[in-house]
């Protein structure tokens, strides 16, 4: 009897947490499909005729598709550059101990803790001098301030987990240093690499602050920035807001589900023994 009761309570507790987390998501998705009159109806309209008004308005008037494309460009660019710079840095820190290597590693981590708004104005002045305002490159580069530390922080341990003996065996097999990194170390750290890439991608995708200031024009806006433009008038177009929110949140949720599998696997592969 008793174990059954605790199982039941356990389940109830989990259910409660799930409701707290999932209800806002449900509300967002449901509202995006509701006719505007029913969004604030009380009691809530649990049953309604779904319609795509909100999405149509977001795409037509908010130019959401272009904004999403801009977001994709900036996110992919930031992740690619972050991995290209961060992975070799992490590899170096993991494999070679040199004077100050611990400090360098700590410096990366502290950079990650930087409050974004603190460097916003210097970055703006710099971007303006370089005539990079409204250019996606400026976001890609500035995101590295946060993406590279994240990648380094996650990957140093990943590389450390790959036994040195594997690389030495490859060295004796006649492989070059870079070949070893590419063909032995990289495949073995792919799960960790994926987690780092997705977390970095979520950061870049979600950023509002830098995008709002550095790419303000209609043609250069990223998706989260578009949301801000909805808030300027006398009435807030909630259907459109919710539809845009769904389009922005969708990829993040998918990304989260994708890394969940890797994190559950514990990020280890059991390479030797």
């Amino acid at each position: 009897m008793k174990p059954k009761l605790t199982t039941f309570l356990h389940g109830l507790f989990l259910l409660a947490i799930a409701v707290v987390i999932l209800f806002p998501l449900y509300w967002m998705v449901a509202s995006s499909f509701k006719p505007s009159g029913q969004i604030f109806q009380m009691p809530p309209a649990w049953l309604f005729h779904p319609q795509l008004h909100g999405y149509g308005a977001a795409i037509r008037e908010g130019d959401m598709l272009r904004a999403l494309l801009n977001s994709v460009i900036v996110t992919l660019g930031a992740v690619a550059l972050g991995i290209a710079v961060g992975a070799p840095a992490a590899y170096g820190l993991a494999r070679y101990s040199f004077k100050g290597s611990a400090q360098v590693q700590f410096w990366y981590v502290t950079n990650w803790m930087l409050v974004p708004v603190v460097v916003l104005i210097p970055f703006y002045l710099l971007a303006s001098d370089l005539r990079l305002i409204n250019n996606p490159i400026v976001l890609i580069v500035i995101y590295q301030t946060f993406v590279v530390p994240l990648v380094v922080w996650l990957l140093v341990d990943q590389f450390r987990a790959v036994p040195v003996a594997l690389e030495e065996a490859a060295l004796l097999d006649g492989m070059s240093r870079f070949g070893i990194f590419l063909r032995i170390t990289l495949p073995l750290t792919l799960p960790g690499m994926t987690v780092a890439a997705i977390l970095a991608g979520i950061f870049a995708w979600n950023d509002l602050l830098y995008a709002f200031i550095l790419t303000p024009s209609d043609f250069a806006r990223t998706a989260p920035t578009v949301m801000m433009t909805y808030l300027g008038g006398y009435i807030i177009p909630w259907g459109r807001v919710m539809a845009s929110a769904v389009m922005i949140t969708g990829p993040v949720v998918i990304g989260g589900i994708a890394i969940h599998k890797y994190i559950a696997r514990g990020l280890t592969l059991g390479a030797v023994k």
Binding site: A165, L166, L171, D173
Partner: protein
């Protein structure tokens, strides 16, 4: 096939000297075992031959050619790692063929070699599995196959049997010998297990604290240890070493319960009066001494039954201990007195201070 010469190699890490001006020759086709306690520098030496470490001073020659600073890939050496170091994301076949592909060996030859080594080490059924799906012994065989397939001039093995269980280790040891006889590769094998060293080596290099204590064939090292360290390290149970005094006037070596007549011509003079007298348990028999024999007497402290034999711990009158094994049908009891006889030719003498062997003649 190649010979290796190590000339005056020293290795320092910061303040610690791991190897001290070490010299060693490994001849063509030889199975050389580097034996010593952990931290004696044997693995460091192996890694320097592989090119994974660089000597601080000294030279390493392969077939007379200086390879001290050559990168690992240019040395034509293969290595079996203690952890096997199989590439986990590749199949057994890919593990073996990678080194061959990188050396631009043609596909037909690669296929032939894979087939040959797979049969040699009996892994043919597992060629398309990944290392994860193999047992420890099978991984061991794959690691061996990977090196043999490369046909390197020298194969290096770093405690390859230390990660598998005792029974399998015996099987693999015999297997290693069989393969070595068949392939005839120059092999340098690192272990801390003296029994493994005795069983495998054509010659053994006994190392301690970064220098060589003795180099020789297993039998030579066993019967003529160059010093007390080697005497203590080789053989199970280990050699009994008894602290004694050399009485020059009486021409004898004495300790309580021991009397050993010796003339000064049979050994070089010790640095002081103290001397270490050594004998192996199997050279001692219970009984009365005849001419030229040495007697050792004490009280039996502990008798351990080991199945076919029993291990008798003898305590000399001054508290020193000697251990020997006797057949199980003898009836030794704790508390009994026991008198042992050792032929003088089986007695070892070491300087108490330097540990160096003192006997000039064994007869």
């Amino acid at each position: 096939m190649a010979e290796i010469q190590i000339e005056g190699v020293t290795k320092r890490y910061a303040a610690t000297e791991v190897l001290k001006r070490l010299d060693l020759n490994v001849t063509q086709g030889e199975f050389m075992v580097l034996l010593g306690p952990s931290g004696c520098g044997k693995t460091t030496l192996l890694r320097m031959i592989a090119g994974l470490e660089t000597p601080s001073t000294g030279r390493i020659l392969m077939n007379g050619q200086d390879i001290t600073l050559a990168p690992p890939a240019k040395r034509d050496v293969g290595m079996v790692f203690q952890s096997y170091a199989l590439y986990p994301h590749m199949t057994v076949r890919q593990n073996i063929s990678l080194g061959l592909r990188l050396r631009k060996i043609d596909e037909k030859e690669i296929t032939r070699r894979i087939e040959f080594v797979a049969n040699l080490v009996q892994i043919a059924p597992y060629l398309d599995r990944k290392p994860r799906a193999l047992s420890g012994g099978q991984r061991q065989r794959v690691a061996l196959a990977r090196v043999i397939a490369r046909e390197p001039s020298v194969s290096l093995m770093d405690e390859p049997l230390s990660n598998i269980d005792a029974q399998l280790r015996m099987v693999m040891r015999a297997e290693l010998l069989r393969i070595h006889r068949k392939v005839g590769m120059t092999t340098i094998y690192v272990t801390h297990d003296q029994e493994e060293a005795m069983g495998l080596g054509d010659r053994i290099t006994v190392m301690n604290f970064g220098h060589v204590e003795q180099i020789g064939a297993p039998d030579e090292i066993y019967s003529r240890p160059a010093n007390a360290f080697v005497a203590r390290f080789i053989g199970a149970p280990r050699m009994n070493l008894i602290n004694a005094r050399y009485r020059a006037g009486a021409n004898s070596i004495e300790a309580p319960g021991i009397h050993a007549p010796f003339s000064a011509s049979e050994f070089s003079a010790p640095s002081g009066e103290s001397i270490i007298l050594g004998f192996r348990g199997e050279d001692a028999t219970p009984g009365e001494a005849a001419a030229g024999e040495v007697t050792i007497e004490g009280r039996i402290d502990v008798v351990e039954h080991l199945g076919a034999q029993m291990e008798v711990h003898l305590r000399l009158d001054d508290g020193q201990e000697a251990v020997l094994r006797r057949p199980r049908n003898e009836s030794w009891r704790e508390g009994d007195r026991m008198r042992l006889v050792v032929p003088a030719r089986n007695l070892h003498l070491f300087d108490a201070e330097s540990g160096a062997a003192l006997r000039t003649a064994y007869h």
